[in-house]
């Protein structure tokens, strides 16, 4: 029998929710553990096997000099490096620091800022090393994660659509919340894949899957401004879980 591919799961600055999504595959977890040699997954096991690794799943963003070095070491030992979630692909919620003065932040939260060692920015993994595939979402979708693992094991390209959330509304037969109810929605500029969660409960998309390919955010902003959304609210809508994704960052800065 050929040896099973070695999988490593790594954590950087994050909420642990994307790693948890892997553990949330309750029906598939034992099969995954059969198909793969789980060589590193600190949150789930004491097993810690040295590299090289066939596949690394990386959660979290880079916020310390130590972590910037750690991701380079992981890359050097990994054949296929995949980032999972908004922190690893776009810097995450903690990238809100990129828009402010970090020294002011440390003194606001911590009594002794001198104990804290942190970078001024929270940056995606791809700012530091070559990434082979980025899985979007805050958190990632369980279905997309399973598809990605299956595809990677089979050596094929994962089926992860790059279209907008609007296409999910059409597929689900969800009435457009903006057209029908005047609710601000990032759906037209946000990548599909969550499963049409927010619009299907009558809520505007809040962009947790990050920007779609070539989004026309300026046109969407004009539309939302027409609905009466003030510039500050418009800015904050783009500036959340994918605040440092280039297209969302540029659009939020236009409304600063």
């Amino acid at each position: 029998m050929a040896p099973r591919p070695k999988l490593a799961v790594w954590k950087f600055a994050s909420c642990d929710g994307c790693q948890l999504t892997l553990l949330d595959c309750e029906d598939e977890l034992l099969a995954i553990a059969d198909a793969l040699d789980i060589a590193q997954f600190l949150e789930a096991t004491k097993v810690a096997t040295d590299g090289p690794y066939d596949v690394s799943l990386v959660e979290g963003s880079i916020t310390t000099a130590h972590d910037a070095q750690r991701i380079r070491d992981i890359r050097a030992q990994t054949k296929t490096l995949i980032t999972i979630g908004a922190c690893a692909t776009a810097g995450g919620t903690q990238s809100l620091r990129n828009f402010a003065d970090v020294d002011a932040y440390t003194s606001m939260v911590y009594a002794h800022p001198d104990y804290i060692s942190t970078l001024a920015t929270s940056t995606p993994i791809s700012d530091h090393v070559k990434v082979d595939f980025e899985l979007r979402g805050c958190p990632v979708s369980k279905h997309q994660l399973l598809e990605l693992i299956s595809a990677t094991l089979a050596g094929r390209k994962p089926h992860v659509p790059l279209t907008s959330q609007c296409t999910e509304c059409k597929q689900h037969g969800t009435t457009c919340v903006t057209v029908a109810h005047g609710i601000p929605c990032l759906g037209p500029v946000t990548q599909a894949g969550c499963g049409n969660l927010c619009p299907s409960v009558g809520r505007g998309c809040y962009g947790c899957f990050g920007p779609k390919e070539t989004p026309n955010a300026a046109a969407l902003s004009a539309q939302m401004a027409g609905l009466g959304l003030p510039p500050r609210a418009l800015r904050d809508l783009y500036r959340s879980f994918n605040a440092a994704a280039p297209e969302f960052q540029a659009e939020s800065k236009r409304h600063d």
């Binding site: 954590k11 950087f12 600055a13 909420c15 642990d16 929710g17 994307c18 790693q19 948890l20 999504t21 553990l23 949330d24 309750e26 029906d27 977890l29 034992l30 553990a33 789980i38 600190l42 949150e43 789930a44 096991t45 004491k46 097993v47 810690a48 916020t63 972590d67 995450g92 919620t93 903690q94 809100l96 620091r97 402010a100 002011a104 932040y105 440390t106 606001m108 939260v109 911590y110 009594a111 002794h112 104990y115 804290i116 942190t118 929270s122 805050c138 958190p139 969550c194 969660l197 927010c198 299907s200 409960v201 009558g202 809520r203 809040y206 947790c208 609210a233 904050d236 959340s240 879980f241």
Partner: protein, 429 residues
């Protein structure tokens, strides 16, 4: 004398990045440190200036394992500040959603992260090799918790259907009722897992903890109550800062919680159970008795049993709420812009989680304070480590190291939460 150093650079089977360092000089314990090196993420700082109605969705990103604790604490505090109430139907649905989080989080920890310690195994996958039925039962139970969160909250990690004032859309009655048969199975499965785990060989270790939790006259506390303790504290949530404080120590990127007099205290399942035993259902009390537990549990290694009893309770409670569920109408109450200050406090799976916000006249956050359970438990975790090391000096380094790790895992520490956890280093001098 010989120096011994017991050190774990990156603790496994905990949520987040922590380490352990113990230095011994003969029988003298010179240092015991639970270090949290998880990078800080500065939530309290970047919330300032944001619309207060965003607080639940932003703070949920503090933790992917217990997002409901943040969503609910933030919702309570902001609703109080903006001067709106909800309805009994909305509060019942919130409690049911929170039951889902207790189930998935407790089963993840008890069966997959903590149980392997008692069996001397690396992980739940190894348990599955010899006892696949136990692992399959635990996974089905964990999935049930996630299903509750998906049906009510729209998603299990970072739910989207919750909002200030209630829910975006009330789930249909049929979808809620349809959960009842699996919840009834779940209560029985949780009881069976409690009794299976009760057969573990528990280290003899007892301590007279200061147990702090929410207390409530009728309910086993989840979403509501006053803050009470085993030593007579009984205060409204708004008085939290008058009795508790947070301190910054060099070894931890998480603030450490202490009583104002500097003493350590314990939050979490043992505290909830001991402070509220009389509010548990008769069936849960029966499971506790059969598992060998009295109304007070002082052995931290037995927290695994209390967690599973709480899973039984959460299944029973969710089934009860589902049985009398009516879709809340309206599904939410609208909050106006106004200046105000509010406090929120709920029982996260790992214990008391406090939120405090001050909001300006435009409804924007001026000040945010969030005190998660693992921050509060750090001083007690270090006290437990010192006691466990002192009682086991004769152990070989590897065994002592594992025992220390287990002592930390007793708390199901959530380091991602606490930094808003740990490396073990044992130095034997």
């Amino acid at each position: 004398m010989t120096e011994r150093i017991i050190q774990v650079d990156a603790l496994a089977r905990v949520e987040g990045e922590g380490a352990l360092y113990v230095r011994l000089n003969g029988a003298q314990i010179e240092a015991v440190e639970f270090r949290i090196f998880e990078p800080p993420r500065f939530f309290e700082a970047f919330m300032v200036g944001r619309d207060a109605r965003e607080a639940p969705d932003i703070t949920s990103r503090i933790c992917g394992i217990c997002p409901i604790a943040y969503i609910m604490g933030a919702s309570q505090a902001v609703e109080q500040a903006l001067g709106i109430g909800t309805s009994p139907d909305i509060e019942a649905l919130r409690r049911m959603l929170y039951c889902g989080e207790w189930i998935q989080s407790h089963v993840l920890h008890a069966a997959m992260l903590h149980a392997p310690d008692f069996l001397g195994l690396a992980d739940a996958i190894e348990i599955a090799k010899t006892n696949p039925d136990l692992v399959r039962k635990a996974l089905r139970l964990k999935k049930l918790g996630n299903t509750l969160m998906e049906v009510i909250g729209g998603r299990s990690v970072h739910p989207v259907n919750t909002r200030i004032g209630g829910f975006y859309r009330a789930p249909e009655v049929e979808r809620i009722r349809a959960l009842i048969p699996e919840l009834e199975w779940g209560a029985q499965a949780a009881r069976e897992l409690t009794l299976a785990f009760a057969g573990f060989d528990f280290p003899a270790d007892e301590y007279d903890y200061h147990f702090v939790s929410l207390v409530h006259p009728e309910d086993y506390p989840i979403t509501q109550g006053r803050i009470g303790s085993s030593r007579g504290l009984d205060i409204p949530v708004a008085d939290f800062n008058a009795h508790f404080s947070e301190h910054h120590v060099a070894r931890s990127n998480a603030l450490q919680g202490r009583m104002k007099d500097g003493s350590a205290y314990l939050v979490g399942p043992l505290a909830r159970y001991t402070n509220n035993y009389d509010r548990l259902s008769a069936s849960c009390q029966a499971t506790a008795l059969e598992a060998g537990l009295g109304p007070v549990v002082r052995n931290p290694f037995k927290s695994i049993l209390v967690r599973m009893i709480e899973v039984q309770y959460a299944c029973e409670e969710a089934a009860r709420i589902a049985g009398s569920y009516v879709a809340p109408s309206p599904a939410f109450f609208v909050a106006p812009d106004r200046a105000g200050e509010g406090h929120g406090c709920t029982e996260a799976p790992r214990g008391l989680c406090y939120h405090h916000y001050r909001i300006d006249a435009e409804g924007r956050i001026e000040m945010a304070q969030i005190v998660p359970p693992t921050s509060q438990n750090q001083p007690q975790i270090e006290a437990d480590l010192t006691r466990v090391v002192a009682a086991n000096l004769g152990m070989a380094d590897d065994a002592l190291k594992w025992r220390c790790e287990q002592t930390i895992r007793n708390y199901d520490p959530c380091i991602s939460c606490a930094t808003h956890f740990l490396k073990l280093t044992v130095d034997r001098v």
